[in-house]
Amino acid sequence: MALKVMVKELRTLLGDARSMLVTFAVPFLFRLLPGFNGSAFPAILIAYVILGLFSTRADNTSIRTGVTQFPVMVRDHVVGMFLYQAVAVLGTALLAIAFMLIAGPDKFMADIVPKALGIGLLLTGLLTAMGLWLRPEVARVMSMLVIILVLNFVIFQSDKGPVFLPWLSVPAALLGGLGGWLGFLALGLLNPPRL
């Protein structure tokens, strides 16, 4: 059932052409702006997509609809939402890789996609959990704050060196990200949203 929820959320996302465009295409447009066309772009892309996912869907109406209009348990909805966010981020990472290959990988910092993916996963875990626990308006504001902070941080990393976040190893980033995501999932299941 949780998988069905994930598929449903993905279909909703993919079916909304305007949202898709804004979420996935705009970062590429930003490359025209200074700071955005640097070597940290793939990470910027991932952060921006996460921002897009959260400013549109993670609200109370969505949870209510998710559990009242679909014959699922609250648990299914929570797991499905976590999975959906993770898949979206993974998809974006693949998109970033494709872009890098086309633009020429040497233009970008080393290790950027796996590390950004790990951090991104952790981030979606945090934000999904916040969306479940906090009041919708508060969650939305907090989410945007977090992402903007992260975006700024990532932009700041641009052109700082050949390796993205050299103090963080790739395995650490991936495992940490996955671990954090699972941790937030567990927390989300233990403390499901009130309807």
Binding site: K8, T68, P71, M73
Partner: protein, 284 residues
Amino acid sequence: MENILDIKNLRKEFGGFTLDNISFALPRGYIMGFIGPNGSGKTTTLKLIMNLMRADAGTIEVFGQDHIRFEREIKQRIGFVYDEPVYYENLSIRRMTGLISPFYAKWDQSLYEDYLRRFELNADQKIKTLSKGMRTKYALALALSHGAELLIMDEPTAGLDPVFRRELLDILLDVMQREENSILFSTHITSDLDRVADYITFIDRGKIVLSQDKDSLYEQYVLVKGGPGDLTDALRRELIGVTVSAHGFEGLASHPVQGEGLLLDKPSLEDIMFFHTRGDRHGA
């Protein structure tokens, strides 16, 4: 006769409101009107059945199964029409249904389309532009299109014009032609149920006042009317509730009442509800 819904000693306390020791059962093949004034606990009870809230105590069995352990299976067999159904508002009816239908094993697309036609709904219309009546019709079309054996409806006729309310009742009566089906119809507009309900459960301030078949309810309760001088203290004690005007009084009794010059009449469900909720205010 098996019970399609069996609620025992349900209790839920929150925000100053308590649902206290709720018990009632709906036998398979019948329509039950779940009546009560606004705020009496109807919606809370329904939310507990659908597991949108957890009870503090008590059990709920649907199709003979515990409603929490078998939540997914049960939800496949229930068609739920919420009071203010919430959808993905920016989507069209077609797309919303396209997201919902894969979740149901017994989804019947042609039946669903029949209902859309019958309700005169345009599948390409965006949900946020639908009127309240159309949203209810859409909810109904969804609820009736996946082989549900139990229909639970929370105030489905509120905000609907009387013409559609009658149509809705006709649709429900059609649904009931199949003996396996049952309907739990929660409302504070009791005129809809006066004729059509088989059973009535009346809830007030979080407590079940009565739960029985409608015919025996009508045989049992009596509307007592009389002139101002006829309302003796003894009579007052026998009445569940009473209203007094300059020309006389009107009250409800749960058994035939004797008295000179008294007129006994058949109460409507509305009368039964009204006098029970004003029960502790005997007289003006």
